[in-house]
C-alpha cells in the first residue's frame, strides 16, 4: 500500500525537510525555513581530530534530533519516537505504522540507500527520510533530496536503519502524534533566535560556534600535512564545497535558509528589523559561497600551495568576524 494523500516535497535538508513534510501532512501550515529557525538549526562546529572521522571536518547545523526536540518545546507539537534493539522489531513497528496510514520518518545510514548515486553514498548515520508505503519487499520513500518518491528494498532499509558506528540509528523512527491548532509564533521565533545566538556566541567550547570558525581558520593550514597525497588533499578540500553547498544545506552552510527564516519571521512577527538582518545574512552567505567555490576551484586544479590555504584561512576569519558581529546584534535586537 501507499499513503495516497501524502505529498512528497523536496527540501534543502533531510531532517528539517522530513519534519516539515510530516507536519504539513498532519495539518500544520509551516515552511522548512520556519522549522529550521524555530528549532535553532543554524550552527558551526569544527572537528580536527575525532575517532570516527578519517580527516578533519565541520558541521553547520545543530545536533541531529535537537531540531525535533526544540520544535516540541517551542510549538507544542508532540512527536512519537522510538528506537529498537533489533531489525525484526524495527521493521514490524514501521510496517504497522504504514499499514495504519501513518507516514513515518526513519533515521538511516545513507551508504545503504540503493537509489542514491554512488558518488553521494557515504557513511552518514544521521540521514532522515519518510516512509510512505510498502509494496511487496519494497518501501516507498519520500527522501527530501530527490524530486520524486523512490523505492528501497526492505533488506536495504533494515541495513540502513540498523547500521552500527557513531550516532548509529538503532532503527529510530518518529512521527507527529499531536499538532496544535495554533501556537504563539512570536514567542517561538524569539526563543529560536535567542538559542541560535547562544549556540553561535556563548558555548564555552573552543571548536563550536564562532570559536569553531576561528579554529577552522587556524587549523586548515595544517591540512596538507594530514593528507595521504595531493589527490587526497584535493578531495578533502573539495568536500568543503559539498558540506557547505551540496549536502542538504540550502546553500552557504544553511545561511541562506536561516536568512529566509528571518525574512519570514519579520513578516509574521511584525518586526521589520529582522528583515534587514535577513538581508545581511544573505550577504554573509554569499561570502561562505565564495569560500566554498574557491575551495572547489583550487581542489580541481590541484593548486594547493601554502598560499592557498592561507587564503582559505583568511576567508574563514572574515566569515567569523561578520557572523560574530551579526549574531551579537541579532541577540540584542531580539531581547
Amino acid at each position: 500500500m501507499i499513503i495516497e494523500n501524502f505529498q512528497h516535497r523536496m527540501a534543502a535538508h533531510c531532517e528539517s525537510g522530513s519534519i516539515t513534510s510530516l507536519l504539513i501532512h498532519a495539518g500544520m501550515k509551516i515552511t522548512e525555513p520556519m522549522v529550521f529557525g524555530i528549532s535553532s538549526g543554524i550552527f558551526f562546529g569544527y572537528f580536527h581530530k575525532m575517532k570516527s572521522f578519517a580527516f578533519p571536518t565541520f558541521i553547520v547545523r545543530n545536533k541531529p534530533g535537537q531540531m525535533r526536540r526544540n520544535l516540541e518545546k517551542r510549538t507544542g507539537v508532540r512527536f512519537y519516537s522510538k528506537d529498537f534493539k533489533n531489525a525484526a522489531a524495527g521493521q514490524e513497528a514501521l510496517d504497522n505504522l504504514i499499514n495504519k496510514g501513518i507516514p513515518t520518518a526513519v533515521q538511516v545510514d545513507m551508504f545503504y540507500l540503493d537509489y542514491v548515486p554512488s558518488w553521494e553514498r557515504v557513511h552518514i548515520n544521521v540521514h532522515f527520510l519518510v516512509v510512505i508505503g510498502k509494496e511487496g519487499d519494497v518501501y516507498k520513500v519520500s527522501d527530501s533530496y530527490f524530486p520524486g518518491v523512490v523505492d528501497l528494498p526492505v533488506s536495504s532499509m533494515n541495513t540502513a536503519r540498523f547500521a552500527q558506528g557513531s550516532m548509529s540509528p538503532k532503527g529510530f523512527l518518529f512521527y507527529p502524534k499531536y499538532v496544535p491548532a495554533s501556537f504563539d509564533y512570536q514567542k517561538a521565533i524569539r526563543k529560536g533566535i535567542k538559542k541560535a545566538c547562544f549556540y553561535m556566541l556563548s558555548l564555552p567550547i573552543p571548536f563550536l560556534g564562532i570559536k569553531g570558525i576561528r579554529m577552522f581558520a587556524r587549523k586548515i593550514t595544517d591540512w596538507p600535512s594530514l593528507a595521504r597525497d595531493t589527490e587526497h588533499l584535493s578531495h578533502e578540500v573539495m568536500k568543503i564545497n559539498i558540506l557547505l553547498e551540496d549536502q542538504g544545506t540550502g546553500g552557504a552552510g544553511f545561511r541562506f535558509m536561516y536568512a529566509t527564516f528571518l525574512q519570514q519571521a519579520a513578516e509574521m512577527t511584525g518586526r521589520p528589523e529582522l528583515k534587514s538582518f535577513a538581508g545581511e545574512l544573505m550577504e554573509i552567505g554569499d561570502g561562505w559561497r565564495e569560500f566554498s567555490l574557491f575551495a572547489a576551484r583550487i581542489g580541481k586544479s590541484r593548486d594547493l600551495g601554502a598560499d592557498k590555504f592561507k587564503q582559505l584561512s583568511m576567508l574563514l576569519n572574515q566569515r567569523a568576524d561578520k557572523e560574530e558581529s551579526f549574531f551579537k546584534r541579532l541577540s540584542k535586537a531580539i531581547h
Partner: protein, 131 residues
C-alpha cells in the same frame, strides 16, 4: 544569493537552494548540484586512481583487502570496529597484511555488511592481487 547565480545544470543530482527572487523574496529553488555539474569527472578520476593505488598496495603485500575498503569508504579503525561489532584491537590485527588468511569467516561476513559487498568480493579483491 540571486536566483540566477544559483542555477546549475545537473539532472542526475537535484538540490534545493534558498535564493533571492526578483521580487526580493527569499524562497526555495530546485536546481542541479553545482559541484556535481562541474567536478564529478574529477571525483571519478581521483577515485579510480585511489583504487589503483590501493590494489597495487595489496599486490605488494603492504595492505590487505579489509584496509582497501576501509580507506575507500573513509572509515577510521575505530569506526570500522564499531560498525562491524568487533574490538578495535581485533580489527587492528585483521588489518595486518599477513593476517588476512587468519580472519574468521564470521568476521569477514561482518566486514562485508559494513562495506555492502559480499564476502566473495573481499576474497576476490585479496586473491586477484596475489597473482
Amino acid at each position: 544569493m540571486k536566483e540566477k547565480d544559483g542555477y546549475a545544470e545537473c539532472p542526475e543530482q537535484q538540490v534545493i537552494l534558498y535564493v533571492e527572487k526578483e521580487d526580493g523574496k527569499y524562497e526555495a529553488m530546485q536546481t542541479g548540484s553545482y559541484i556535481s555539474a562541474n567536478y564529478l569527472d574529477d571525483y571519478f578520476f581521483k577515485r579510480n586512481n585511489l583504487e589503483k593505488t590501493l590494489d597495487e598496495k595489496i599486490r605488494k603485500g603492504e595492505i590487505n583487502a579489509i584496509e582497501y575498503y576501509m580507506v575507500l569508504e573513509d572509515l577510521t579503525i575505530s569506526e570500522l570496529a564499531a560498525r562491524a561489532g568487533l574490538m578495535k584491537w581485533i580489527v587492528k590485527r585483521h588489518l595486518k597484511p599477513g593476517n588476512f588468511s587468519g580472519i574468521p569467516e564470521s568476521a569477514l561476513k561482518k566486514y562485508s555488511v559494513v562495506f555492502n559487498i559480499t564476502v566473495d568480493e573481499i576474497l576476490k579483491r585479496q586473491a586477484g592481487n596475489r597473482k
